[in-house]
Structures are given as C-alpha cells and as structure tokens.
Symmetry: C2
Subunit: 393 residues, 2 copies
C-alpha cells in the first residue's frame, strides 16, 4: 500500500547501553528485540547484549520456548522484591515505576534508553524518581532494522506469497464472473469490493497470513488511495487491489498491488496501465545501492509528466502520481526508508522497499502496480512475484 510519509531514512548509529521496553507484540521494536508474541504489555530490558524479560508467571513457559530472551525473570518475584524494597503494606502491588526502579537497583543501572514511542506516563514517573531516561533518536531504537537479514527477507517473501495468493483468487473470481447490466455476478451474487476483501482474506490465511484493510477499489474509489472500496464492482472499471498481509507467526508483512479490469478496457485505461507498467519497469532498473531515493521518485513523476499525465497535490484535487513511490517493509508495513519527493538518503545493500508507481484520475480511475525489492550489490532482486495480467474478458 502507498505510504504518505515523506521523512528521510535512518542516518544515526545510536548504540544504546540498557534499553527498556514496556509493550506487547504490536510494538515492532519489542518484537524485533524479543521475537515473542505477547498479548499484553510486559517489561523487558537489555544489559549489554543480554536480553532480559520480566514474564507474567502465566507466560514464562511459552516465553522460554518461543522468545529469544537470554534470561526470564518472573513478574511475581520482581513484584515481591519491589514490595520489600519500598516497604509496601502487605497485599499492595508495586506500580510500574517501582518495578523499574527495583530492576535498576538490582542490576545497578542508572538509566535507560527507550524508544520514542515508550509510554510517556511511565517515562515521566521514572524521570521524577531520578532514573535517567534517554530517548532514542527518531530513526528508532534499532536502526539496524533498516538492513534486512536473510531470515527477514525470507519472512517477507512468505508475506508476499500471501499477497500473491490473494491476486490469484481475485483473478479466478473475475474470470468466473458474468457481466449483467454493467455489474459482475459471481456465484449468483453481485460481486462487491467487500466480497473481494473476503476472498482475499481466505486466500491469505491459507498462506499463514492475515490480510486486513485490503484495498479492492473500483473506478473513482481507487483515486482515494487508502479507500478500501465498497459496493458493486462494475464492468469496464479499473480495480486497484492492494494486499498487505501480516504473518502472526513472526510479525512480517507482505505488500503488493495489482490492477484489474473485467470487461472491455477503453483506450485511455489501456494507456494508463501501459504507462504505469513502464514506470514500474524503470524503477526496477534505477533502484540500486548508492542511488538517492528521492531521485527515483522524481524520475517517475517526470516520466509521467512527459507522457502527459500531470500530478496535482492541490487540496481537494489530488491527481496523477501524488503518493510516495515506495517505502520500507519489515515488522511494520510502512517503515524507513520512505521513497518520496524529499530527502537525500541513498539506497543501501540489504534494504527492502516497495516500488509502487500509480496514476489516478477521477472519471478514468486508478492504476497502481507494486512489488517488493531487496537491494543487492549493483541492483535489486524482486521479493514479490505475481502475474501482471489485468484484463479479464
């Protein structure tokens, strides 16, 4: 899916000493640190390279099996220790601030580095209690997340397989549909965006991934890039299908987009698709280590303009190629780097980014084609794979 941010990629090489977390598996940094799927927030911290968790007692066994923590402390024991340290009355549970102060005292830690998204409530309390809290820079607590390991590339490939399964299901559905009075009929029912969302979700599930908020938007709906689409799909309209499923087993995402059309395409639609495909091919050639990200975005916009497809970012009249060309993907569906209008950062070996040129004009419709690329020496290798066939008679 297209990202709307225009921030630059990571530059800093911040190396925190003792990192503190209080979050669950919805926090990508915590997931990167722990490789553990927690439903409720818990504490974890590092001492040098050692990773330590404070496990709710009920989670301790599962954490020992599934996480990459070097040491797992039991929450009940840490609570008992903190209650003793702060001389709490019997039965009173220490609060989060007391727990952290107890840990700091036990391990002789005078302060922690936390991610910018660390909860402010606790951070303020810790500072007030004399614990030094250092906020990691905006590029994150683990800037190394920018460069993907082979395992991460493999996890992203699996995520994209779920996207590809979704496209196969959509193609099959469109091929099987009949056109009646301008609408599509499948399995005896009018085919809607919502039905496509369902079909895609089921296909992604069979590949071990969850596709939420899938975009399957026809006609002008697709010109709002994050509109998921609703209501009947019509014959002869461009259908933008953007599938970004996440794998619950490890937290990694897929992200691919294809554009479809059932029935007869107009010359204008054909030319729009052809032009976006050319831009897509151009980016596959241009994206390589050392190249400035924004340069590729500008090259695409210039190409579109030269082909007669103007971009406008005016309020209430966004058209043409108004979103970013691409973005990083990993434990977040949108993460650094953002390939957009601004910034001077350069592609590096090991990055994984989407390339997703698109053109959108009300009346004509939208086209977006998105693949995921792994930066390798001298170029890139597509991580995603799915046919580009878009017309279904």
């Amino acid at each position: 899916m297209p990202s709307k941010k225009s921030t630059a990629a990571a530059k800093s090489a911040h190396r925190p000493k003792s990192i503190l977390f209080h979050s669950d598996a919805s926090d990508p940094d915590m997931l990167y640190f722990s490789r553990f799927t927690a439903f409720d927030p818990y504490f974890a911290f590092s001492i040098g390279k050692k990773k330590i968790a404070i496990a709710p007692d009920m989670e301790a066994n599962r954490m020992a099996e599934e996480s990459c923590f070097d040491e797992i402390l039991l929450l009940s024991e840490i609570r008992d220790g903190a209650a003793k340290r702060f001389k709490l009355p019997a039965g009173q549970i220490p609060d989060s601030c007391q727990l952290v102060r107890h840990i700091a005292a036990l391990h002789r830690i005078s302060g922690f580095t936390v991610a910018p998204r660390f909860p402010a409530g606790l951070a303020f309390e810790l500072r007030d209690a004399g614990i030094h809290i250092d906020i990691a820079p905006a590029d994150g607590i683990f800037p190394q997340r920018l460069i993907k390991t082979p395992d991460e590339v493999e996890a992203l490939r699996k995520g994209n397989r779920a996207s590809a399964a979704g496209f196969r299901a959509v193609a099959k559905t469109l091929a099987e549909s009949k056109i009646k009075r301008g609408q599509l009929v499948h399995d005896g029912k009018i085919l809607t965006s919502q039905r496509l969302h369902e079909i895609i979700s089921i296909a992604a599930l069979a590949e071990g991934a969850v596709a939420l908020h899938t975009i399957a938007a026809g006609g002008d709906q697709a010109c709002d890039c994050h509109n998921a689409g609703s209501g009947p799909i019509r014959a002869g309209e461009l259908i933008v299908v953007d599938i970004f499923p996440q794998r619950p087993s490890d937290g990694y995402w897929g992200d691919m987009t294809r554009t479809f059309l059932k029935g007869k395409a107009s010359d204008g639609q054909k030319r729009l698709v052809r032009t976006v495909k050319k831009a897509h091919a151009m980016t596959l050639d241009m994206i390589k280590p050392g190249v400035v990200g924004s340069k590729v975005h500008h090259a695409v916009e210039d190409f579109f303009t030269a082909e007669g497809y103007e971009t406008s970012r005016a309020k209430g009249d966004m058209k043409g190629f108004f979103h970013s060309l691409g973005h990083g993907v990993g434990l977040q569906v949108h993460e650094a780097p953002n390939i957009g209008l601004k910034g001077t950062w350069r592609f590096k070996k090991g990055m994984v980014v989407t390339t997703e040129p698109g053109l959108y004009y009300r009346g004509l419709g939208g086209v977006r084609i998105e693949d995921m690329l792994h930066l390798v020496p001298g170029g890139n290798e597509p991580i995603s794979k799915a046919p580009y066939k878009w017309q279904f008679a």
Copy 2:
C-alpha cells in the same frame, strides 16, 4: 482468553480539557475518540467537545466519510503554517513538536492531556518547549470506556458470533474425525492444533472478524494458559479452545472459550468439566451491579477447593485456578475491570466482562468455559452464545 493482570477497575472521573493524540488504529483510545481506522499515526486533539484531526492529505476524504471528527485539518496546510511560524528554510518539513506547538498557538491551547501511552519522545520535547503536558490517570483517558453503550454491546455481540462460528467449525471437525492409533484423522490428514487454528480463522472471517492467536490446545499444552497449541490432537484428551476475534470494521472483540474432547473421557475428566461448569453457572448468578469483583473470584476458588481442586501459584508449579476469573472487553480484548484476587471495585450497570473459570492439572489436562456478560440492573445478560457440548464420540 484469560487475563493475567490483577489491577483494579477505574475509579477516577478525570475530565480532560484538550486531549492530544498521536497514534493509529492500534491505540484503543484513539479508535474510541475517532472511530477511524488509520494505518499510520496521525495527530488529533479536542477543544471542549469538538474533535479535530490533522489528516494526511491522502486520508482526508476517507476520514471525512468514516470518522466522527467534527473538523479535519489538512496536514500539508498545518505543515505550511508551522514552517512559516518557525521560519524554516524552504523545503524543510516541520517536526512533530513544531506541528503541535503551531496547533497550540493557533487554538490558544497552553497544554494538553495525553494518555499514559502517548509517545514519550514527543511528550518530552513538548515539555521542553514549554507546552504543559498532563498525563491522564492510569485508568485511561476515557474512563467512560468502562461502561458500554448499546452500540458497543451490539458490536461485542457480533464479535462473539465470530467466536461461536469457530466453535461450530471445531465441533463439526471433531464429529467428522476418525480416531486412528490415538490420533484424529480429518480429510485424510492428522488433525493438529494448527489445522484447528486455520478452520477457526476461516469461520471467524465469514462473520467479519479476525481470529489471531487462537488457542486450540490439547492435554498438558492447555495447562499453559496462553499456549496456542501445536502438533496432533489426541483422542481422549481435553482440548481448550479460546477464540478472541476482532472486527476490523469497528475494532471490537469477541472472547469465548469452550472445552472439547474426542473419544472417550475418563471419570476424572468428566468431573473436571462438571466442576468448571458448576463454577461458571455460579458466576452467572453472582455477577451483578454492586458486587465486589474479587469476591466472585474468591467464591470460585473456594468452591474449587471444597470440591478437592487445589490451586497453586508456586513458580514452576501453577495448577488449579491460577488465572483471573474474567476481564472487561471492548476495543481491547483485555481491558478494565479485571476480576481477580485483589481489588475492591464493584460491578456497575453497563460493564461488559468475561467469566472464565478454569482448572488445569498436568496429566489430566485443562478445562475452561468462558462467556461474555453485560451488567444490567439486578444481574447480567450473556452477550455470547454457543453450545456447551464437549464430548464427541
């Protein structure tokens, strides 16, 4: 699913004046405030009862259609204003702190109330810049989330329908399975926990909900309450199935548990199921407005003890009834109140809680039965509904 927290329910009646958010739809308070599913964090704030969003331009149309904001400002315009206010060089994008300072100046706001989970990085910067930041109390920025509106109850009912669909699919699968050498065979394959997770996900999807991290754990695996289960399901073992699906359309959850067994149950297993069912029925009678939550938890533990089922919370030897009896559900699968060992809070009309007594003994297995209750004058009404049939021959 059982919750492990033992904190008390909300007490305070904190009424913030201007609330500030910077988050996405994964933040339940932001979702409560906006009713908008955002993929990336954005700013929103309130002035009195008025709700204002700063929409990334690409999201503005969808936000106008789907959210409950009273006013939607365009991010590009706010950025332009902030750049002018801080006299930034051409092309430089104002940072988050500058954006908020610009909003505060525009609307003559001297400070904001933020949720405890507001990002610490930005909170520190704002304080350093002289903006007053008040952290809402630990019971949350919207303590009214504790009391559900009729619309919320209806959304939770739909969530539970997805759980119930999952149980129907499991029951059908167990009924159709054949026992071969102690294992179950379904569709020509050994039936595993993973296959049950898939079957449940597909059933939940058809009801418009996403069931992640579903528990379908047999035998001793179920004695670790958050173990999802893996590997073959065996004949004659108790299978705890805990399904907590979320509806992407509105963010509300279902949460129900049933216990199953394929083949022949032992007398010990039968008595275990019977005892948990009795405890469950007892809680349906006890849970009503005015009753102290922890009293019901203790009554269940005492009943189990009287029946000869001892509870131990010793490290490494947790058995019996060692998790909380229940928890609130809404935009979080675990939210206030927690019905556990501690606390003096009382049930109130309008709360929605689970009741999920359970007993777990290695060797014998685990049993948990969970339903969701809506507190009404003088008692409660079950929101969830599914058969309790557990034995499949």
